[in-house]
Assembly symmetry: C2
Homo-oligomer: 200 residues x 2
DNA sequence: GACAAAAGTGAGTAAATACTTACTCTCTGA
DNA sequence: TCAGAGAGTAAGTATTTACTCACTTTTGTC
């Protein structure tokens, strides 16, 4: 068990991870600062030594998500030779990430819904935009390499790529079982690939 | 303007429509009973003459959504001759519905996130299951008619169909503009259709 | 037009929740 | 070893929010 007293930066890291874990178990927008503290065996007041407001805490969480997700995806993409293989790797890496951290897509969607343009919302927007641009770049490379249908609408293909993951997430929310996601993912991805690939 | 005093059933109907409208403007989970009443120019207390709890009100809203969405989709499907054409009509009808009522997919997603299995959550699950089954039935018919790739994984195709809409919704949350949805939808649908269609 | 039933009002209440503060404990380095 | 900085505690406070209730206004019927 972790000691009661932690250096500030470690405490902040533990807090963020606690929020990510909690978001995998319950509606992210219903997570209270009290439950976060309780989960860490910490008093409620102590939380506010490390984060001035709840919004600042959510900002740190979104930063954690953006960094980890994009880093892992970039690593997976770099390891592949062809653009289409990279797209496949990107998809499966994303799915793995969601299986490990089921709260993440729900937090992102929840932030996007917010009315005011808070810092965490802006971070969610930025993340998704970067993600979309990465997909688009791979699609362009794939088209240049002759792997992808030359007539393909790249913007639409990028939107559908995000939707492909999103459809799986909805499915897992329906079934209440994130584990099955990984098994179902390849079949869904195949349909997508068939939709964008250059015809033999 | 509607009169201050309405028969109970009309007041309930107006209330539900007010919630649907509000959900198009702000985070559905942040809609309070007070704002609902205010929007109707009604006192807060009066709301609770017509709905015993907020949860019951949300139940009525989900029922409204399920009935309207499925009825419209069924009508569109019936008007088409071939299964693939019906699938296209279903998609565009759904998109139209979302453009008219942008709060709907967000309410649905929000309900699915809930921890406890409340009545509104169960209704959201039922709706999405019925929706998925309808897609699957069309896919099966399409396969029987030879329009669709015989090797297609139907469950995966149904998941991706839902994701196709969902991807557009995420896009509109990013852009903050639901109107563009209708214009972008056909290109996204085309990629999906290319993914499931029987190769010439 | 009187009356009862239906619908609405508005001032409340209790619970939840983000944040504060005065204090105490614990670790570190000179 | 001990002073002080850093981390934690616990009992607050202010605000929000779902829901209540005693009372008033409107509406439809005879």
């Amino acid at each position: 068990m972790s000691p009661r007293h932690l250096p500030a930066d470690e405490r902040r890291a533990v807090t963020v991870e606690t929020v990510v874990a909690l978001a995998g178990e319950q509606n992210p927008s219903e997570i209270t600062t009290a439950t976060i503290a309780e989960r860490m065996q910490l008093s409620h007041g102590a939380l506010f030594r490390h984060f001035p407001t709840k919004e600042a805490l959510w900002g740190a969480v979104m930063e954690w998500v953006a960094e980890r997700l994009m880093a892992r995806i970039e690593r997976a993409v770099q390891a592949e030779a062809s653009p289409l293989a990279a797209l496949e790797a990107m998809f499966m890496t994303h799915v793995d990430f969601v299986v490990e951290h089921p709260g993440v897509p729900r937090m992102l969607f929840g932030e996007l819904q917010r009315a005011e343009l808070s810092a965490p919302k802006r971070m969610a927007q930025t993340l998704l935009r970067r993600y979309g641009e990465r997909v688009r770049a791979l699609l362009e490379a794939g088209r240049a390499a002759g792997e992808i249908d030359p007539a393909l609408d790249l913007a639409a293909a990028a939107t559908l790529f995000v939707g492909t993951v999103q459809g799986l997430v909805v499915q897992s929310l329906l079934a209440g079982d994130v584990g099955r996601l990984r098994g179902e993912a390849p079949a869904v991805l195949n349909i997508y690939l068939r939709g964008i690939r250059r015809q033999g």
